[in-house]
């Protein structure tokens, strides 16, 4: 038997993650200063970890309800109302997932029929396209441009809609660009969508990390609540990546369908993480504020230094990445990142890891201390001087 032949063609056809490829190269080199990670440098706040530990001590090591602990779902709904003025029923419209990633997979799986099209603004997080394909759908990429601040433009959206379009993925605040969509931007998008049968999957995992402007969910725009699935989680806002915990909020029938798949595929999200997350929802605001304020300072440092090097650098207003253009160097994104790694031992991620329209850019995370960032920036500066 040829085992290779036994693997589904659908899976084989999806290329391996560009991030993975670059990880393999970077991992070979010693003493690398990395700007490559997509997770906070902070530890989970101690009071949150302590609640997780306490739940273990109390022997709370059993399954929870499929949709998640009711108390956690209630706290999530209180939080969403308090922070983003969105109301959901903890019983009918809330599902606790294994990270935000599971939410992406579930939402696509319960909505897509073969041939259904999913609109994906790029550059974006790496999962949307593969998960669409695994779910039997067809990804349709909408490029976003630096001159539009990497926002999804309504006329572009209009242009890519076909009779087969079923889903729009709205990944803002955006990884890797740091772009956000403001209320008036979302209203224009809603204007296009209102007359059509299109569901929005709004990935708001970075909602707490915006700088100077409050995050607005498209579910808050008139006529959108009933057709929007909001995905979020604890990883970025509370520095809880390893706990693997997220949630999905949306129309009752969709959440019920997602809960059905989740129940058979996953059973429930990790119970320890859920107890810790209750504490995060109840008493985590100060931690989020502290981390947001630290990221904000680093963000300014990054933009300032990249611009001083003579690179065009869009000012990100969300997440924890800057996405400077390296076109002036004449190198491709991959060429730049590989040369930077070999020459200066700094790891940044090629923009193309986030889709072909990331060409000409690199993603630099600022989830590092000021000292580390300064050192990395100095090395990048040396490198740039060689090329420009």
């Amino acid at each position: 038997m040829n085992i290779e032949q036994m693997i589904s063609q659908k899976v084989k056809d999806v290329p391996p993650s560009g991030i993975r490829k670059f990880f393999d190269i970077a991992n070979e080199i010693e003493d690398v200063i990395s700007l490559g990670v997509g997770e906070p440098d902070f530890d989970t706040p101690w009071h949150i970890r302590e609640e997780g530990i306490y739940s273990l001590e109390k022997g709370k090591t059993i399954y929870s309800a499929n949709a998640g602990l009711l108390e956690l779902r209630q706290q999530i709904c209180i939080y969403m109302k308090r922070r983003f003025n969105l109301e959901y029923s903890p019983i009918k419209e809330t599902l606790v997932t294994v990270g935000g990633s599971e939410g992406i997979d579930l939402a696509l799986r319960v909505l897509l029929e073969p041939g259904d099209e999913v609109l994906i603004p790029e550059p974006c997080f790496v999962s949307y396209k593969p998960c669409t394909i695994f779910a039997g759908g067809t990804p349709v990429v909408i490029p976003t441009q630096e001159e539009n601040n990497f926002k999804l433009m309504p006329e572009e959206l209009e242009r890519y809609i076909t009779p087969r379009t079923k889903i729009l993925i709205l990944p803002y605040p955006n990884n890797p660009t740091g772009a956000i969509m403001e209320k008036e931007d979302l209203e224009k998008i809603a204007e296009v969508l209102r007359s059509k049968d299109i569901i929005v999957i709004s990935d708001e995992i970075y909602a707490e990390l915006t700088y100077g402007k409050e995050h607005v969910s498209i579910a808050n725009i008139e006529g959108m609540y009933d057709r929007t699935i909001v995905l979020s989680g604890f990883s970025k806002a509370y520095a809880m990546t390893g706990w693997r915990l997220g949630y999905a909020l949306g129309p009752q029938s969709i959440i019920a369908a997602m809960t059905k798949v989740h129940q058979f595929a996953i059973m429930c999200a990790p119970t320890t993480s859920q107890y810790a997350a209750i504490e995060a929802m109840k008493n985590g605001d100060d931690d989020v504020q502290m981390m947001r304020s630290a990221y904000d300072k680093r963000r300014r440092l990054m933009v300032d230094r990249f611009r001083a090097m003579g690179l065009s650098c869009f000012e990100p207003e969300g997440a924890f990445y800057v996405f400077p253009s390296i076109q002036r160097t004449g190198l491709t994104s991959e060429g730049f990142c590989e040369a930077l790694l070999k020459d200066q031992k700094v790891a940044a991620v090629p923009g193309t890891a986030f889709g072909e329209f990331g060409e000409g850019f690199i993603r630099c995370s600022y989830a590092y201390s000021i000292e580390e960032l300064k050192e990395a920036l100095s090395r990048i500066e040396k490198f740039i001087h060689k090329w420009v």
């Binding site: 991030i19 990880f23 990395s34 490559g36 990670v37 997770e39 440098d41 300072k297 790891a347 000021i370």
Partner: protein
């Protein structure tokens, strides 16, 4: 603006005015002026370095926390007594406390004996001092928000989505 500058300087007094201006999105001259003004006004009282002496070969430093009960003086309250205490070079910090005693006095000396002698010969005999209780510090785990022994390695993957 001043509070934000102070928070950054408290975090790391080596930040230059230019660093601070960049991080806060302010004009460098405005930051420089604000710092000079705050130094003049004694809002910024000095710049020091946080050192874990246990990691050096300088072993002769003993820190003690002393609880002091005093009689406040007529018309002067506690301030006059505090002044008589904090003027000694050995005294590194003096705090007025609520609760069971009046002052916390932090003293540094070369040996336990030296500290004990200071308490016995200088501090306790002061007219307003009713009693003292000396507690020696055996190990500092965390000071000024910094954990001393921690040697944290970044265990995150070098690259992740």
């Amino acid at each position: 603006m001043k509070n934000e500058i102070l928070e950054l300087l408290q975090e790391n007094s080596k930040y230059t005015a230019s660093d601070i201006a960049t991080m806060l999105g302010l004009d460098i001259e405005a930051v420089q002026n604000a710092i000079i003004e705050m130094e003049k006004d004694q809002v910024i009282c000095g710049y020091s370095t946080l050192i874990n002496w246990d990691k050096t070969d300088k072993k002769d430093i003993v820190t003690a926390l002393i609880e002091v009960k005093v009689t406040p003086q007529r018309g002067e309250g506690f301030d006059r007594v505090a002044e008589r205490i904090y003027k000694f070079n050995e005294v590194k910090a003096v705090y007025l406390m609520s609760g069971g005693f009046d002052f916390t006095v932090i003293i540094e000396g070369r040996t336990m004996k030296e500290v004990a002698l200071f308490v016995g010969q200088k501090l306790a005999p002061l007219e307003s001092v009713l009693s003292t209780a000396t507690h020696f510090v055996l190990k500092k785990y965390k000071d000024y928000g910094v954990v001393f022994e921690e040697n944290k390695k970044d265990e995150r993957m070098i690259v992740s989505p």
